[in-house]
Symmetry: C2
Subunit: 234 residues, 2 copies
DNA sequence: CCGACTTTGTGCATGCGTTCACAAAGGCTT
DNA sequence: AAGCCTTTGTGAACGCATGCACAAAGTCGG
């Protein structure tokens, strides 16, 4: 099963931090490609991606030696290599579960299709929403979840359901064979070994901003006494 | 300006990684509080938050010694301390710019108000959308951006605009005094020193999942030849 | 064909984050 | 009051990520 040795210096263990930045590089490269730019130096690409050039070079070096010293990187070639490394040269079928405001926003987001992600199914439990057409797809009832996931060979599910429904829905998609989940519900999902979960939490992002904002304004004001005032109104 | 010494062992330099987890602990604590649970051990709270207990204790120790050995942490007290540290004991006025699908989803998201965030203004450039009422607020034209940010004392802006509009809008909110930005547009924003930007990118999250998904299936398939086939259809 | 110039790829040092393991500290029972 | 039990808070070791700085490797002009 392991064929690690076939590609020379290429080390299969790409650091997680690097993986998280590759999509950013990829987008910057696409922008350059649109402007018919053929080659780019690490300095330029790093600037476009908002990182420093040493980090960029080290990141790319994990994929292999795809640059030319004295010149830089060929844009198209690098696009291909990063795409392949990320698994974007194949198509992934994605299901969105939950079509409230957020689910609809996701269903209509153009950035998916252009990156090898195909919206394959939309699922909801609300009979008012089921049957509605969104972005060319008909919303199916969640009762058909298992069947649809199997039929469409879906391996990635996006959960945009209420917090209380998240874990049960998660359990169902996992037992149907989904091994990657993008979770928008504000809960910590429990999943078996081998299933990846990524979480996007709008509220958490704002709280982190608030922390730094407060810091700029002079740090948290309170001392012990404030707590007592806060709990009983005396 | 620095008054680090007033609070004993309390060290003002809380690691960024810890800050990012505090909101998760806070949510877990709120859940416990709803169930009228008075005290919680680091082991239990860690399980609820999806981290290990040593990390949780170290994180909390950065805020101070708020636990009782042999017992655990008092839920309500810890809620207050974390809230205060994150700056949630004061209200923050937030503006949402861009009310497409995503902007509407954010405007309707209940998780904000309950954490000290007040939706203070909704702004859009589209005359069809301007004037619409969403969640009790009227969408204003983006021409009034500067005035509204000043009037409502807005320090946090959420950008849910198209990629092409993101940088110009960013520049405008920054020059109006906003110092924290939550950016949903798929671009790297350039901001002056002292302005914090956090980015949420749906497409990037999926790409990271795809990487791991592919890894599970046996790693990237391609070798050199595939690239040549991919660029010219021969 | 050679030498100057550019830019990559990486060894190394530093700093941050995580985890282990345990002493210190409190409560509870007898 | 004394000892046992539980759980915190933290010192120390380890590992990962970042950034510097430079040798290696390539291009290009003459």
């Amino acid at each position: 099963m392991t064929r690690r040795s076939t590609l020379g210096a290429r080390n299969r263990g790409i650091p997680e931090a690097t993986v998280a930045r590759l999509p950013v590089y990829l987008r910057a490269l696409h922008t350059l490609a649109e402007r018919d730019i053929v080659t780019v130096s690490s300095e330029e690409l790093a600037a476009a991606a908002g990182v420093n050039s040493a980090k960029l070079r080290k990141d790319l070096s994990h994929l292999g030696s795809y640059g030319t010293r004295g010149v830089g990187y060929e844009v198209q070639y690098l696009v291909y290599q990063i795409s392949r490394e990320l698994g974007l040269t194949q198509d992934w079928s994605v299901a969105i579960v939950g079509l409230g405001n957020l689910g609809r926003a996701l269903a209509g987001y153009g950035g998916f299709a252009s990156r090898g992600f195909r919206m394959a199914a939309l699922l909801d439990a609300d009979p008012v929403i089921v049957g509605e057409r969104i972005n060319g797809l008909t919303v199916e009832h969640i009762d058909k979840l298992e069947q649809i996931i199997a039929d469409c060979a879906i391996s990635i599910a996006v959960l945009a359901v209420p917090a209380s429904a998240a874990q049960p829905v998660c359990d169902r998609v996992v037992s149907s064979g989904v091994t990657s989940i993008l979770n928008f519900a504000p809960v910590v999902l429990a999943v078996p070994e081998g299933v990846d979960v990524r979480k996007v939490d709008l509220s958490i992002e704002l709280q982190i901003l608030a922390f730094h904002e407060q810091r700029k304004a002079g740090g948290p004001a309170g001392v012990e006494q404030e707590y007592l005032e806060a709990v009983d109104g005396s």
